[in-house]
Protein backbone atom coordinates (compact mmCIF):
# COMPACT_ATOMS: atom_id res chain seq x y z
CA UNK A 1 0.00 0.00 0.00
CA UNK A 2 1.42 3.37 -0.96
CA UNK A 3 1.76 6.34 1.34
CA UNK A 4 -0.95 8.16 -0.63
CA UNK A 5 -3.35 5.27 -0.16
CA UNK A 6 -2.55 5.24 3.56
CA UNK A 7 -3.16 8.97 3.79
CA UNK A 8 -6.45 8.69 1.95
CA UNK A 9 -7.61 5.88 4.21
CA UNK A 10 -6.67 7.85 7.31
CA UNK A 11 -8.51 10.90 6.02
CA UNK A 12 -11.65 8.84 5.46
CA UNK A 13 -11.30 7.23 8.87
CA UNK A 14 -11.14 10.63 10.56
CA UNK A 15 -14.43 11.59 8.92
CA UNK A 16 -17.16 10.08 11.07
CA UNK A 17 -19.42 9.49 8.06
CA UNK A 18 -16.87 7.22 6.36
CA UNK A 19 -15.05 5.91 9.42
CA UNK A 20 -16.40 2.38 9.49
CA UNK A 21 -16.05 1.90 5.77
CA UNK A 22 -12.43 3.08 5.88
CA UNK A 23 -11.65 0.71 8.73
CA UNK A 24 -13.36 -2.13 6.93
CA UNK A 25 -10.99 -1.49 4.04
CA UNK A 26 -7.99 -1.39 6.36
CA UNK A 27 -8.93 -4.75 7.86
CA UNK A 28 -9.41 -6.24 4.42
CA UNK A 29 -6.00 -5.07 3.25
CA UNK A 30 -3.92 -6.10 6.22
CA UNK A 31 -5.71 -9.00 7.87
CA UNK A 32 -3.74 -11.81 6.23
CA UNK A 33 -0.30 -10.36 6.74
CA UNK A 34 -1.04 -9.53 10.35
CA UNK A 35 -2.63 -12.91 10.95
CA UNK A 36 0.42 -14.82 9.75
CA UNK A 37 2.78 -12.62 11.70
CA UNK A 38 0.76 -13.31 14.85
CA UNK A 39 0.33 -16.98 14.05
CA UNK A 40 4.05 -17.52 13.78
CA UNK A 41 4.42 -16.10 17.27
CA UNK A 42 1.56 -17.78 19.08
CA UNK A 43 1.38 -20.88 16.85
CA UNK A 44 -2.19 -21.92 17.69
CA UNK A 45 -4.90 -20.72 15.26
CA UNK A 46 -7.54 -19.88 17.88
CA UNK A 47 -4.99 -17.89 19.86
CA UNK A 48 -3.89 -16.08 16.71
CA UNK A 49 -7.52 -15.26 15.94
CA UNK A 50 -8.04 -13.79 19.41
CA UNK A 51 -4.87 -11.73 19.21
CA UNK A 52 -5.76 -10.50 15.74
CA UNK A 53 -9.19 -9.35 16.91
CA UNK A 54 -7.59 -7.49 19.81
CA UNK A 55 -5.06 -5.95 17.43
CA UNK A 56 -7.74 -4.51 15.19
CA UNK A 57 -9.82 -3.29 18.13
CA UNK A 58 -6.80 -1.50 19.49
CA UNK A 59 -6.02 -0.10 16.06
CA UNK A 60 -9.57 1.21 15.71
CA UNK A 61 -9.42 2.93 19.10
CA UNK A 62 -6.05 4.54 18.44
CA UNK A 63 -6.01 5.28 14.74
CA UNK A 64 -7.09 8.85 15.39
CA UNK A 65 -3.86 9.35 17.34
CA UNK A 66 -1.62 7.81 14.68
CA UNK A 67 1.00 10.44 13.95
CA UNK A 68 2.02 9.20 10.53
CA UNK A 69 5.71 9.25 11.48
CA UNK A 70 5.86 5.65 10.29
CA UNK A 71 3.99 3.68 7.68
CA UNK A 72 0.52 2.57 8.63
CA UNK A 73 1.50 -1.05 8.17
CA UNK A 74 4.49 -0.89 10.53
CA UNK A 75 2.24 0.79 13.10
CA UNK A 76 -0.26 -2.07 12.78
CA UNK A 77 2.56 -4.58 12.91
CA UNK A 78 3.80 -3.02 16.11
CA UNK A 79 0.38 -3.35 17.74
CA UNK A 80 0.14 -6.95 16.56
CA UNK A 81 3.59 -7.73 17.93
CA UNK A 82 2.85 -6.16 21.30
CA UNK A 83 -0.49 -7.94 21.55
CA UNK A 84 1.16 -11.25 20.70
CA UNK A 85 3.88 -10.83 23.29
CA UNK A 86 1.34 -9.70 25.89
CA UNK A 87 -0.73 -12.76 25.07
CA UNK A 88 2.22 -15.08 25.58
CA UNK A 89 3.07 -13.43 28.88
CA UNK A 90 -0.53 -13.70 30.07
CA UNK A 91 -0.73 -17.33 29.18
CA UNK A 92 2.52 -17.88 31.10
CA UNK A 93 3.06 -20.76 28.87
CA UNK A 94 6.36 -22.18 27.78
CA UNK A 95 6.25 -21.76 24.04
CA UNK A 96 7.29 -25.38 23.61
CA UNK A 97 3.97 -26.44 25.10
CA UNK A 98 2.12 -24.55 22.39
CA UNK A 99 4.19 -26.47 19.86
CA UNK A 100 1.81 -29.39 20.33
CA UNK A 101 0.29 -28.70 16.97
CA UNK A 102 3.63 -28.44 15.21
CA UNK A 103 5.17 -31.45 16.89
CA UNK A 104 2.07 -33.48 16.19
CA UNK A 105 2.09 -32.58 12.52
CA UNK A 106 5.82 -33.17 12.33
CA UNK A 107 5.71 -36.63 13.84
CA UNK A 108 2.67 -37.60 11.72
CA UNK A 109 4.34 -36.42 8.55
CA UNK A 110 7.60 -38.12 9.34
CA UNK A 111 5.84 -41.36 10.13
CA UNK A 112 3.93 -41.37 6.86
CA UNK A 113 6.82 -40.27 4.63
CA UNK A 114 10.25 -41.74 5.44
CA UNK A 115 11.93 -39.30 3.12
CA UNK A 116 11.57 -35.75 4.18
CA UNK A 117 9.05 -33.91 2.08
CA UNK A 118 8.80 -30.14 1.70
CA UNK A 119 6.13 -30.07 4.42
CA UNK A 120 8.28 -31.92 6.91
CA UNK A 121 11.22 -29.59 6.48
CA UNK A 122 8.94 -26.59 6.96
CA UNK A 123 7.69 -28.04 10.22
CA UNK A 124 11.23 -28.82 11.29
CA UNK A 125 12.18 -25.26 10.45
CA UNK A 126 9.30 -23.95 12.58
CA UNK A 127 10.48 -26.13 15.41
CA UNK A 128 14.00 -24.73 15.03
CA UNK A 129 12.66 -21.17 15.02
CA UNK A 130 10.85 -21.87 18.26
CA UNK A 131 14.14 -22.68 19.94
CA UNK A 132 15.15 -19.03 19.49
CA UNK A 133 14.51 -16.43 22.20
CA UNK A 134 11.17 -14.72 21.56
CA UNK A 135 12.46 -11.41 20.26
CA UNK A 136 15.05 -13.07 18.05
CA UNK A 137 12.28 -15.27 16.70
CA UNK A 138 10.26 -12.14 15.92
CA UNK A 139 13.16 -10.59 14.04
CA UNK A 140 13.78 -13.78 12.07
CA UNK A 141 10.13 -14.14 11.10
CA UNK A 142 9.83 -10.55 9.97
CA UNK A 143 13.03 -10.66 7.97
CA UNK A 144 12.82 -14.13 6.49
CA UNK A 145 9.10 -14.75 5.97
CA UNK A 146 7.71 -11.22 5.74
CA UNK A 147 10.81 -9.92 3.91
CA UNK A 148 10.69 -6.64 5.76
CA UNK A 149 13.58 -4.19 5.62
CA UNK A 150 15.66 -3.72 8.72
CA UNK A 151 14.45 -0.11 8.99
CA UNK A 152 10.83 -1.31 9.06
CA UNK A 153 11.61 -3.97 11.66
CA UNK A 154 13.35 -1.28 13.71
CA UNK A 155 10.14 0.76 13.72
CA UNK A 156 8.18 -2.27 14.91
CA UNK A 157 10.57 -3.42 17.62
CA UNK A 158 12.21 -0.15 18.66
CA UNK A 159 15.62 -1.82 18.23
CA UNK A 160 18.51 -0.38 16.23
CA UNK A 161 19.23 -1.63 12.70
CA UNK A 162 22.69 -2.79 13.74
CA UNK A 163 21.31 -4.89 16.58
CA UNK A 164 18.68 -6.35 14.27
CA UNK A 165 21.28 -7.36 11.70
CA UNK A 166 23.34 -9.08 14.37
CA UNK A 167 20.26 -10.79 15.78
CA UNK A 168 19.17 -12.06 12.37
CA UNK A 169 22.64 -13.28 11.51
CA UNK A 170 22.80 -15.18 14.77
CA UNK A 171 19.32 -16.62 14.27
CA UNK A 172 20.19 -17.99 10.84
CA UNK A 173 23.27 -19.75 12.17
CA UNK A 174 21.40 -21.25 15.10
CA UNK A 175 18.60 -22.54 12.91
CA UNK A 176 20.99 -24.11 10.44
CA UNK A 177 22.88 -25.80 13.25
CA UNK A 178 19.68 -27.07 14.84
CA UNK A 179 18.18 -28.47 11.64
CA UNK A 180 21.48 -30.13 10.76
CA UNK A 181 21.60 -31.78 14.16
CA UNK A 182 18.13 -33.27 13.61
CA UNK A 183 19.02 -35.12 10.43
Amino acid sequence: MTDDQDKDLLKRFRDSSSRNMAFNELVNRYQERLYWHIRRIVIDHDDADDVLQNTFIKAFKNLDKFREDSQLFTWLYRIATNESLTFLKKKKKNVFVSMDEVSHQLSSTLESAPELSGDAIQLKLQWAILTLPTKQRLVFNMKYFDEMKYEEIAQVTGTSVGALKASYHHAVKKIEAYVKSQF
Partner: protein
Protein backbone atom coordinates in the same frame (compact mmCIF):
# COMPACT_ATOMS: atom_id res chain seq x y z
CA UNK B 1 21.66 0.40 -1.19
CA UNK B 2 18.95 -2.21 -1.14
CA UNK B 3 20.96 -4.55 -3.41
CA UNK B 4 24.01 -4.18 -1.18
CA UNK B 5 21.92 -5.02 1.88
CA UNK B 6 20.48 -8.14 0.25
CA UNK B 7 23.93 -9.19 -0.93
CA UNK B 8 25.35 -8.99 2.60
CA UNK B 9 22.47 -10.72 4.35
CA UNK B 10 23.09 -14.22 5.65
CA UNK B 11 21.13 -16.79 3.67
CA UNK B 12 19.45 -19.68 5.38
CA UNK B 13 20.98 -22.82 3.87
CA UNK B 14 19.56 -26.23 4.53
CA UNK B 15 21.05 -28.83 2.20
CA UNK B 16 18.64 -30.26 -0.31
CA UNK B 17 15.97 -27.60 0.11
CA UNK B 18 15.36 -24.45 -1.85
CA UNK B 19 14.29 -21.13 -0.38
CA UNK B 20 10.83 -21.71 -1.86
CA UNK B 21 10.61 -25.03 -0.01
CA UNK B 22 11.68 -23.46 3.25
CA UNK B 23 9.31 -20.52 2.98
CA UNK B 24 6.24 -22.59 2.21
CA UNK B 25 3.72 -22.13 5.03
CA UNK B 26 3.13 -25.25 7.14
CA UNK B 27 0.25 -23.75 9.11
CA UNK B 28 -3.35 -24.20 8.09
CA UNK B 29 -6.44 -22.11 8.71
CA UNK B 30 -10.07 -23.25 8.87
CA UNK B 31 -11.82 -23.13 5.51
CA UNK B 32 -13.22 -19.70 4.68
CA UNK B 33 -11.43 -18.10 7.62
CA UNK B 34 -10.19 -15.02 5.81
CA UNK B 35 -13.40 -14.57 3.84
CA UNK B 36 -15.34 -14.27 7.11
CA UNK B 37 -12.70 -12.42 9.07
CA UNK B 38 -13.47 -8.81 8.11
CA UNK B 39 -17.16 -8.91 9.16
CA UNK B 40 -16.18 -10.62 12.41
CA UNK B 41 -13.57 -7.98 13.17
CA UNK B 42 -16.03 -5.17 12.41
CA UNK B 43 -18.57 -6.82 14.75
CA UNK B 44 -15.93 -6.96 17.51
CA UNK B 45 -15.08 -3.31 16.96
CA UNK B 46 -18.76 -2.29 17.06
CA UNK B 47 -19.44 -4.28 20.22
CA UNK B 48 -16.44 -2.62 21.87
CA UNK B 49 -17.87 0.78 20.95
CA UNK B 50 -21.22 -0.20 22.45
CA UNK B 51 -19.51 -1.32 25.67
CA UNK B 52 -17.88 2.12 25.98
CA UNK B 53 -21.26 3.83 25.52
CA UNK B 54 -22.92 1.63 28.10
CA UNK B 55 -20.42 2.42 30.85
CA UNK B 56 -22.18 5.73 31.50
CA UNK B 57 -23.67 5.49 34.96
CA UNK B 58 -27.32 4.61 35.12
CA UNK B 59 -28.23 5.89 38.55
CA UNK B 60 -31.06 3.39 38.99
CA UNK B 61 -28.89 0.41 38.13
CA UNK B 62 -26.10 1.58 40.43
CA UNK B 63 -28.33 2.24 43.37
CA UNK B 64 -30.90 -0.52 43.34
CA UNK B 65 -29.02 -3.79 43.67
CA UNK B 66 -27.38 -4.70 46.96
CA UNK B 67 -28.03 -1.42 48.74
CA UNK B 68 -31.48 -1.92 50.18
CA UNK B 69 -31.97 1.53 51.53
CA UNK B 70 -31.51 3.27 48.18
CA UNK B 71 -34.78 1.80 46.92
CA UNK B 72 -36.45 3.01 50.07
CA UNK B 73 -34.96 6.47 49.67
CA UNK B 74 -36.31 6.92 46.18
CA UNK B 75 -39.67 5.42 47.07
CA UNK B 76 -40.06 7.88 49.93
CA UNK B 77 -38.90 10.73 47.73
CA UNK B 78 -41.32 9.77 44.99
CA UNK B 79 -44.26 9.63 47.37
CA UNK B 80 -43.44 12.78 49.29
CA UNK B 81 -42.01 15.06 46.61
CA UNK B 82 -44.19 17.93 45.47
CA UNK B 83 -45.85 17.56 42.03
CA UNK B 84 -43.70 18.71 39.11
CA UNK B 85 -40.61 19.07 41.25
CA UNK B 86 -37.79 16.68 40.38
CA UNK B 87 -35.37 17.92 43.02
CA UNK B 88 -34.38 15.54 45.72
CA UNK B 89 -35.43 16.98 49.09
CA UNK B 90 -32.52 15.96 51.22
CA UNK B 91 -34.06 16.80 54.58
CA UNK B 92 -37.27 14.96 53.84
CA UNK B 93 -35.44 11.86 52.65
CA UNK B 94 -33.11 11.77 55.64
CA UNK B 95 -36.00 12.30 58.03
CA UNK B 96 -37.77 9.27 56.62
CA UNK B 97 -34.81 6.90 56.94
CA UNK B 98 -34.24 4.38 59.72
CA UNK B 99 -31.10 4.43 61.86
CA UNK B 100 -29.68 1.45 59.94
CA UNK B 101 -30.24 3.17 56.64
CA UNK B 102 -28.62 6.34 57.93
CA UNK B 103 -25.57 4.34 59.03
CA UNK B 104 -25.20 2.96 55.52
CA UNK B 105 -25.75 6.40 54.05
CA UNK B 106 -23.08 7.87 56.29
CA UNK B 107 -20.47 5.47 54.89
CA UNK B 108 -20.68 7.13 51.52
CA UNK B 109 -17.99 9.63 50.68
CA UNK B 110 -19.20 13.08 49.73
CA UNK B 111 -18.20 12.64 46.10
CA UNK B 112 -20.17 9.37 45.95
CA UNK B 113 -23.24 11.09 47.29
CA UNK B 114 -22.92 13.75 44.62
CA UNK B 115 -22.11 11.20 41.89
CA UNK B 116 -25.13 9.06 42.74
CA UNK B 117 -27.40 12.08 42.89
CA UNK B 118 -28.32 11.47 46.52
CA UNK B 119 -27.46 15.02 47.35
CA UNK B 120 -26.83 18.21 45.49
CA UNK B 121 -23.87 20.46 46.17
CA UNK B 122 -26.19 22.93 47.91
CA UNK B 123 -26.86 20.34 50.60
CA UNK B 124 -23.22 19.96 51.51
CA UNK B 125 -21.17 22.41 53.47
CA UNK B 126 -17.51 22.02 52.71
CA UNK B 127 -15.18 22.83 55.53
CA UNK B 128 -11.92 24.19 54.32
CA UNK B 129 -8.68 25.38 55.85
CA UNK B 130 -8.01 27.45 52.74
CA UNK B 131 -9.24 30.87 51.83
CA UNK B 132 -11.25 31.38 48.70
CA UNK B 133 -8.29 33.04 47.00
CA UNK B 134 -6.03 30.09 47.83
CA UNK B 135 -8.58 27.66 46.45
CA UNK B 136 -8.96 29.62 43.22
CA UNK B 137 -5.17 29.74 42.70
CA UNK B 138 -4.94 25.99 43.34
CA UNK B 139 -7.67 25.28 40.79
CA UNK B 140 -5.98 27.50 38.21
CA UNK B 141 -2.71 25.62 38.69
CA UNK B 142 -4.49 22.29 38.27
CA UNK B 143 -6.16 23.53 35.09
CA UNK B 144 -2.84 24.69 33.68
CA UNK B 145 -1.26 21.30 34.41
CA UNK B 146 -4.12 19.54 32.72
CA UNK B 147 -3.83 21.77 29.66
CA UNK B 148 -0.10 21.12 29.44
CA UNK B 149 -0.77 17.39 29.52
CA UNK B 150 -3.33 17.73 26.75
CA UNK B 151 -0.90 19.81 24.68
CA UNK B 152 1.76 17.14 25.09
CA UNK B 153 -0.61 14.40 23.98
CA UNK B 154 -1.66 16.41 20.94
CA UNK B 155 1.99 17.25 20.24
CA UNK B 156 1.25 20.95 20.05
Amino acid sequence: MENTEKHNEPKLNIEGFSEADLKRNPFKTPEGYFENLTPRVMDSVRSTEKKVESTEINWWRVLMPGIGFSAMVFAVWFLSAPTGNNTLNFDQVVASMSLEELDQFAEFETEDLLAYGLVTSDDIEIESDFSEEELINYLLDEEEMELNTIYEELDI
